[in-house]
Symmetry: C2
């Protein structure tokens, strides 16, 4: 029996654990929260992410250690990494924890991004306006402010209460993302680029592949992934959030893990992102990322509709995370897969009828 230790026990851990079972891969988790989602599929050691003894114990009963979130204690993982295999490497995770460092690495890898700077380099911001973000922490739209052109970037940065980065506001056509995996041998396999819709900074819907996706756009996104993962010597699944601007791409954010915009792959691809991550970190052959049709994914946020209503939609696949409802909290998602885009969109509309989108 192969054992994987997962730092974090949320829904991403749950779905990693689910993917492991048919492969004979057993996942254990480390998570400070009580009765987290992943508890349904494996033992959870309740400890903080910086608890060296707990991390060591997890590592000692695992063939490889991985993460299901980027807000981990990288120093602890670095220390641990001297003795055990951690994938992706702590150094790669560290890059994605710091928005400024991440943007610099993207630039160094030749990947297009919005213009960015430290706040004191651009006290009055960029011509098109600025998004000022905390460098570390902050997710789902938290920890950021928009400052209009000529506004006071320094004051915005100060009010966020920590080191910040200023990025130029981008007038994008739409938000996209790519989820991909890289093996230790450097093989990269990419899922198709998907289109994402956010509200209040939280992902609401994903369409896969992105409507109108061209081979050129897919190639551009894959080029980003190859350049970035090579630079980071990355092993595992990675997600890159993208802006489409004038038919080209800018990289926005990187997640060193499986990603919400890849959940559709459980039902809609020949290999799920979760199985793909396990394959990559365990030196198993990477799986076929081909889609099985046109997929759509809708997040259940804040509250869950009655299960029977969702299941009454023929073809809807329901994924609940065992979490108590709370405003803005991701509680589950619903996937649909159809042979045509029109049927996919019709199914999505039927599901949305039951989903609270206020």
């Amino acid at each position: 029996m192969t054992s994987v230790g997962v730092v974090g026990g949320g829904q991403l851990g749950l779905m990693l654990g689910m993917a492991g079972i048919p492969l004979g891969v057993h996942c254990s988790f480390l998570e400070p929260g009580d009765d987290p989602p992943a508890a349904a599929v494996g033992p959870v050691e309740r400890a903080s992410f910086g608890d060296l003894a707990a991390l060591l114990a997890l590592a000692q009963r695992s063939d490889v250690l991985t993460v299901e979130l980027e807000h981990v204690d990288v120093d602890a993982l670095r220390w641990l990494g001297e003795a055990v295999r951690i994938r992706p490497a702590p150094a790669a995770i560290a890059v994605t924890q710091d928005r400024l460092l991440e943007k610099r690495v993207l630039c160094d890898a030749g990947i297009a991004t919005a213009r960015f700077a430290e706040p004191d380099e651009v006290p009055r911001g960029f011509a098109a306006g600025s998004v000022v973000k905390v460098r570390t922490g902050g997710y789902d739209g938290r920890g950021q402010l928009v400052v209009p052109s000529g506004g006071d970037v320094l004051r915005a940065a100060e009010s966020l209460g920590g080191p910040a980065i200023a990025e130029e506001v981008v007038s994008f056509t739409r938000e996209l993302s790519i989820v991909a995996a890289r093996s230790a041998l450097g093989e990269v396999r990419c899922f198709p680029v998907v289109e994402n819709r956010h509200r209040d900074g939280i992902l609401r819907e994903t369409r896969a592949p992105a409507p109108g996706l061209t081979a050129a756009l897919q190639a551009e996104a894959e080029g980003f992934v190859v350049a970035l993962t090579e630079r980071l010597d990355y092993v595992g699944v990675i997600a890159v959030e993208l802006f489409e601007v004038d038919g080209h791409l800018l990289a926005n954010e990187v997640a060193p893990r499986v990603h919400n915009s890849g959940h559709w792959t459980i039902d809609g691809a020949r290999t799920s992102q979760f199985e793909q991550h396990l394959r990559a970190i365990l030196d198993l052959p990477l799986g076929d990322p081909s889609p099985l049709g046109f997929a759509g994914m809708i997040n259940l946020i804040g509250h869950e509709p009655p299960l029977a209503e969702l299941l009454a939609v023929d073809g809807a696949r329901v994924h609940r995370y065992r979490k108590a409802p709370r405003p803005g909290r991701k509680l589950g998602h619903v996937t649909v897969v159809a042979p045509t885009e029109a049927e996919r969109d019709a199914l999505l509309a039927r599901v949305l009828h039951f989903v609270d989108t206020t």
Copy 2:
């Protein structure tokens, strides 16, 4: 949280438990064996199937009780059924435990079968030869003997050491099966008829849908299911094994549970047979049984090829059961799904290259 108690903890229980997790359905198991497959997804009470106290404890923490095998203690379930909901009902399970009773119920429901009789009614057997089988127990080809025309059916029955049934040997074109679900309201939804290949009485391969499946043949099989499940007032997933003879069907055996020939639905249908069973017994809407393409399933029997070899076949989905290898033991299965029959068969051939078929 909805709770389902499952009598039996083998691979069928494991896959039921897996299907429950995304729905927020928690499965617990009762199983006499040590560390059974289902232990990966829920608590297992180690007890015999006739242990009334253990059954009662399982029932008391469950919203509904079900079975993942038919060789349960029906008397114990009947006693329990006075107090708790059991689906399918013990009376329906009892019918499938006794080959003679099962055949009589099929006949009474107007469903075609091979000719059959009690051994002393046909001491010299049927004109085409006879298969003499124990009435209860026996599976995967065990507990049966073939007696040529004019042979001694009574002696064959005696040598099997228990009440027996004699069935006429059928020259069938091929073996098929249909898996279907019936709700408490009487709604029936059927997966497509599939083709099965056995060796030594053990299922080796399933092709779904059955090659050349016509609407007429599907309708004939669905007619069998509707007639039988109505007669049994059946709730849950049921499987009927079929012989195709001269373009028509004979019912061979009935399983009151999810079935090996339905495993392809996990990867190849819009709803898996496991989720469908949970939906049926929990009064949730039945799911869409449509196939996602052309699927094939190969059982891993007796030994498992190296995981990396199987995973190197693009599109192969591997399902391992956490069981120690033993000759003739089902250890896992591999599913492939493709947009055409030719591609499906090519993928199957690639998988078979790694599977021991001796």
